[in-house]
Every structure is written in C-alpha cells, then in structure tokens.
Amino acid sequence: MEFEPVSFYLAALMLLCSTAGVIFAPRMFLALISLFFAFLFTGILCFMLGAKFIAIFVFLLGGLVLCPVIFLLMKKINRWNLPLKLSGIFKIVVSSVVLAVFGGVGCLFIREEFSSSLFNIFNYVTEKSQDSLTFSGHIFPLHIVLILVFCAVVVIKGILAVSADGEDCGD
C-alpha cells in the first residue's frame, strides 16, 4: 500500500495538534472545536488507510452528532464559554513523566520478549490462548507488566491525591 508521505505527516501532525488542543484549550468551545477537528483528521487518516466507510462514519457520528450534542448541552446549562483549568503544573509534569516511563518500559518489554514485532504478540496470544491446560504457565512473563500497571495506577492516584490538597478549583 502506497502513501504520500507529505499528506500522511500533515494529517498526523494536524491530528496531534487538535488532540493537544482538546487537552490544553482554555475555553470549552475551543476544546469542542479541537475535538471536531480531531474527528475530522481521524476520518482523514482512516480514509487514507482505505477504510472509507469507517472514515465517513467517524466523521458523521463524532463530528456532526457528538460535538453539536455536547455544545447544545453546554449551551443549555450556560457553560459553553466556561474557562477550563488544568491541574497544577506539578501534577502535569509528574503524570507526563510517569506515562513516558511506563510507555518506555512497555516498549522495552515488547522489544525483549517479542523482538519488537506486534505480529509476534498476536501469534503468542493466539497460540497460548488455545493451549488451555498450560495457559497459566505461559502467561508468566506478563505478570510483570500487570504489576507495573497496578503500581503506576497506585502511584498516580497517590500523587494526585496529595497534590490536590490545598488547590482551589476552577469551575
């Protein structure tokens, strides 16, 4: 399958920018506009992949139905121009670092166990899930990942609970 690099990179960049816009928009309607563009560029990426019906469906359902519904809901409660505030900078930095670290750990795990191949993961899951008798034995390396995920959840939750004390709320 051939793709034009410029169009792919442009669509991916716009998608990531609109995604960041949803997270960091200072007002509610700006976040909604960013969400609309996120749906639009998701549809464009799906269209580039040849999934035309999915692209149209995503854009229709997300961009033309969900976004107006959320906007009308906000309009109804007079909060469409609501100033949005993020958590404290400490929380943002810590969350980003923890996510990056665990993303890195996950990538390293895939590299070590599955030779950086997603197909190996699917083959592994397919083969081992059919082997019902010794499935628990084969699943052994995955317990490390599960423990790490639970640890991450506990750490993030704890940090957020501590840093939330004493902050005043935006809305």
Partner: protein, 106 residues
C-alpha cells in the same frame, strides 16, 4: 533513516495513534472538568479506531474484520459517551459544577 521516514507503513500509523492515545490518557489524568475528561476518552477511542484501521489495511486483505470491529467500537463509544453525558448533566443539576475536585469534596 530517511527511507524509513519516507516509506509510510504500519509503524507510522501505530506511532501516530500511540501518541494520540498517550495524549488522551494524559488528558484524563490532568483534567479537572468532567466534560474534558469525556473528550479525552473520545480521543483514546479514536486512537484505537485508527489502530484497528491500520491493522486492517496492512494485515487483513479483505478489510472486513477490521471495519466491523471499528464499526461496533465506534457505536459502543458513542453510546458510552451519551450515557456519561446524561450522568454528568444530572450531576450538574444537583451540584451546579462539573469540577471533580469539588464533587469529591461533597
């Protein structure tokens, strides 16, 4: 190195959807407004749709399986968001705010 950048393959789409997924998760963690958390969940759902579409395009020659999974996944996401919006609207009616910290305090 330049060849890898110029020959667009599965990995490029997975990287884009993975970054989108991470930004969505970050939004869920750092946002204080319930509606923005919902929007972040939608972003995570969309990244998964891109993932399925990419695997369908590169691994599944018939496109059918991936498209069907995407179709059902989008439908389920939409229903999930609709229910969440209804719950949040009810929370707003009783509390007059959508800030999770204030809701936790009460």
């Amino acid at each position: 190195m330049i060849d890898i950048l110029l020959e667009i393959g599965l990995l490029h789409f997975l990287a884009a959807s993975g970054l989108m997924f991470l930004v969505g998760v970050l939004g869920i963690i750092i946002s204080r407004n319930l509606l923005r958390i919902i929007m972040s969940m939608l972003l995570v759902s969309m990244s998964i749709v891109i993932n399925f579409a990419a695997f369908g395009a590169f691994c599944d020659k018939s496109f059918l399986n991936a498209n069907l999974i995407c179709f059902f996944f989008i439908l389920i996401s939409a229903v999930q968001i609709a229910v969440a919006l209804a719950i949040f609207f009810r929370i707003y009616q009783s509390n007059e705010y959508l800030d999770i910290e204030k809701i936790k305090e009460n």
